[in-house]
Amino acid sequence: MKRRDFVGLTGLATGALWLPSFPGFSGTLVDPARLLEPGLDVAVKKRLADAALNTAKAAGATYADVRIGRYLNQSVFTREKQVQNIASGESFGAGVRVLANGTWGFASTNTVTEAGLAKAAQLAVQIAKANSKVQKEPVKLAPQKGQGVVSWKTPIKVNAFEVPVKDKVELLLAANAAALDNGASFVNSALFQVNEQKYFASTDGSYIDQDVHRIWPNFSVTAIDRASGKFRSRDALSAPMGMGYEYLQPKAEDKIAGPTGTGLIGYRNSFDMLADAALAAQQAKQKLTAKSVTAGKYDLVLDPNHLGLTIHESVGHPTELDRVLGYEANYAGTSFATLDWKAKGQPYGSKLVNIVADKLQANSLGAVGYDDEGVPTKEWNIIKDGKLVDYQKIRDQAHIVNQNESDGCCYADSWSSVQFQRMPNISLKPGTAKLSVDDMIKGVDKGIYIAGRGSFSIDQQRYNSQFGGQVFYAIEKGKIAGMLEDVAYQTNTLEFWGSCAAICDASDYRLFGSFFDGKGQPPQVSAVSHGSATTRFNAVNVINTARKI
């Protein structure tokens, strides 16, 4: 069995020298204080980068870029009244990518010296030249003006690594206590924090220094009825964010009331972990006796903390140009939204559906100043008035769709990984007319309100999907009518977006996120946000998932 299976089996309770191994959470384990020590001075990084770029050019590269990266992370795991694991990691090295004979070559090294980088550059050129013998499609790069010497930093208010580990442990244990006090049988909680200190330089004349921060608090509360043997859980309604520790300092203005009759609170730019843990325990208990859904067609009202995942799977992935072109055929799959399909101009969704891609949104996981091939980030339309208008592209893909510009969504999860096209933030624009969640529900005769991220599965071309959630409420004649269980909806991407009937206004808009989105072989992770407001979809097929064994 593989390591990741072991983590799954033990529910994060690791033993002895088996370290928690989450994708992207690698590196040397260090003292937390090390995470606050400065990295290399930017002048030193420029000198090192020039050594790589000059060596690559001298060896025959027509283009080269170098990424010197210091990747810091910290994770804290607790269950009930105890700490399970605290790990602080640091990974430092450099990756050199070159174009030679029209072919990519890549090599990385953790010997971050001029000689070490020069050696990696030479190796990258050698690999490019060797692979060019079997290359059938010479690489064509969209032009990119050099950016000169620039920098960008996630506008955090509190660096999470400056907060003592003790405070984080106390917060998680307090959340656990809130859950236990409200009737939870068990609770696991975790906090993930990431800081990418990335320096990028290219032969185009860019020297880009970036300091990127991300954070994700999460928990899962379980309620058990020993007599019946039934157990149900409810996960946190937090989102991973491109923020500092300020996300864990709750503010009243970030709390968005859910539908009347549910007691739910949605969170925008700060998360009240204690309040949500207490509510989660109450809801997990309610789930034990909630009515089992009757299968059939329902109008669905989907909370942003649920809908984000559906957007991710049914719009984010099928509009990645590398999938469309077949580069992921053996693993993640291809896409129904081929160039031919797009050319036919068929609707992707109803006219209400406007979906934008961006790497700019404040507090989002995708926000950076420049991507991992030195392209300034931007916002662009993917679906406009229900029609697919564009894809997600990087420099070597733009020409394939007759464009002359990258979208700035190239990313590598480590200095040792080669950068490739990754999903930017993909978000559903809120409605332009004033509409609250309660007003939306007033118009629903027979429906289900769903909040939270649950089970999810979609085919390799992104047609057929099935989604669960964390909590489900029946809607009858315009009102919330009690909790439901055993709910999942099965749908086809085009039918689903075609059934989009109403979208709440911007006052309900907030971000959902995926912290460990996987793609590629060998696999790499990336983090991406999806914004939306509560949205209504008519006549969606709901199944009952209860079984007897």
């Binding site: 069995m1 002895a16 020993r226 007599a227 077949g326 057929n464 072989q521 060998p522």
Partner: protein, 441 residues
């Protein structure tokens, strides 16, 4: 440098332990040399190689533990790594689930290393990709594949007298072949300890045949069908049988949050939950799927039955949970082996009046942990069988099914083959639940 010999590794670990002032100290070295090649659209897209050795040191003062790691091995670095582990340990909270380190253990002699695999070169990988692409190009098909191979070692030592070392090798290959018009897709996957058994051509041929044969699939109504699930459908992509095996934890069962929890408390160990032909065990010395002979804590891995003749015979039990519940701890196994018969997939098809052959199941996610209900989809080669023959390709289905129900609806078990380091037979299952159709090819 990445693959240290037993003597080299133990010499470093001995030195590490010598630097420690902690009550208990355990150190491990993990090393790997791996290489890969990836291709798509009949052209190589990326190729890579990695070399890494990493030292982890765990220091303990009473019930407080700290771990630090390093990937350089000069005396100063080793000493700093030990000091860091000790500093972290002093600051750590007491671990209420503390278990003392293990003392000396007796291990089986590992057999999971093959020199042929350790000797793989970039040329070998390029040749495999080239063979696969050439076969597809000649048939006007499109290949996308991935080959990864590696040599690994683990060494463990502590100040209670435990000493362990093992090496292993692995080759993992998967190939998806598609028709240029996107109406057909086929898949094959295999993995080996010994690279001499690997043929990219043979596997590509299987995927190519499935791709060509799956063009113009017909739509069948979703519902309950007799299915023949090929081994790759059961155990690759987090398959249904893997998921069943990961769900055999004693603690989760005792805590009341597992399909193995008993009403009123306790677990269902000893109960017959599956068809009596279902037997699954682990064996690190199996010739087809050799695995490690010790786990991360240093517990010896031995032959261990999990399900015997349909009865749950053992649950994974950590040392802490074993002590708390008065059970024996189980080492974490490196493989699982489902006993089977002698029939090939072809034989199973011949004996089927009406049914569906499934090559691969994909995007499998849990729906309800209470019943182990999973959902996912068929992919890359789904065919209708009638009167013992494949009649035509069918459109892909979404399923919602529990491996517990599936292993009670067992019609036949075929000859096991290696998938993902496990031995998995093809299974013929009645009343397998398909809940909707997918247009995906």
């Amino acid at each position: 440098m990445a693959i240290l010999s037993k003597d080299e590794a133990q010499a470093i670990l001995k030195k590490v332990l010598g630097f420690s002032k902690a009550d208990e100290c355990q150190a491990s070295l993990n090393g790997r040399t791996t290489g890969n090649v990836r291709y798509a659209r009949n052209s190589v897209s990326t190729a890579g190689a990695t070399d890494n050795v990493s030292l982890a040191v765990e220091a303990r003062f009473g019930k407080r533990a700290g771990i630090a790691t390093a990937n350089e091995f000069d005396d100063a670095t080793l000493r700093r790594c030990v000091q860091r582990a000790e500093e972290i340990a002093r600051l750590a909270p007491e671990d209420p689930e503390y278990m003392p380190l293990l003392g000396p253990q007796q291990y089986l002699t590992p057999t999971a290393y093959a020199a042929s695999t350790a000797a793989i070169t970039p040329d070998f990988r390029a040749q495999a990709a080239g063979d696969s692409i050439a076969l597809c190009t000649a048939k006007n098909l499109t290949a996308a594949g991935y080959l990864e191979d590696g040599t690994y070692f683990q060494a463990l030592r502590n100040n209670k007298g435990l000493e362990a070392y093992q090496q292993s090798t692995n080759v993992d290959f998967s190939i998806t072949v598609r028709t240029p018009d996107g109406t057909g897709s086929g898949y094959a996957t295999a993995d080996y300890t010994d690279a001499a058994k690997f043929s990219a051509k043979n596997l590509t041929q299987i995927a190519a045949d499935k791709a060509a044969g799956s063009r113009n699939a017909k739509a069948l109504e979703p519902g309950k069908y007799t299915v023949i699930l090929e081994p790759a459908a059961l155990a690759s992509d987090e398959g249904l049988l893997n998921n069943l095996m990961y769900s055999l934890g004693a603690r989760e069962a005792d805590e009341g949050r597992s399909f193995l929890s008993k009403k009123g408390g306790g677990n269902r160990k000893g109960e017959k939950l599956f068809d009596e032909r279902v037997s699954i065990y682990s064996d690190p010395l199996n010739a087809e799927v050799p695995s490690g002979v010790f786990d991360g804590e240093g517990l010896p891995v031995k032959r261990m039955a999990w399900i015997e003749k349909g009865k749950v015979s053992n649950l994974y039990t950590s040392r802490y949970w074993a002590q708390k519940t008065g059970q024996q701890p189980t080492a974490f196994p490196g493989n699982w082996i489902m006993e089977g018969g002698t029939q090939s997939v072809q034989d199973l098809i011949k004996s089927t009046a009406k049914g569906i052959l499934v090559t691969r199941l994909w995007y499998i996610r849990d729906v309800d942990p209470q019943t182990l209900l999973y959902t996912g989809l068929t992919r890359d080669g789904t065919f209708y069988i009638e009167n013992g023959q494949i009649k035509f390709p069918v459109k892909n289905f979404r399923f919602n099914e529990s491996p517990v129900i599936m292993l009670n609806n067992l019609e036949a078990i075929g000859r096991p083959v290696r998938i993902g380091g496990n031995l998995v037979p093809p299974l013929k299952i009645r009343d397998f639940t398909f809940t909707s159709l997918s247009d995906a090819v």
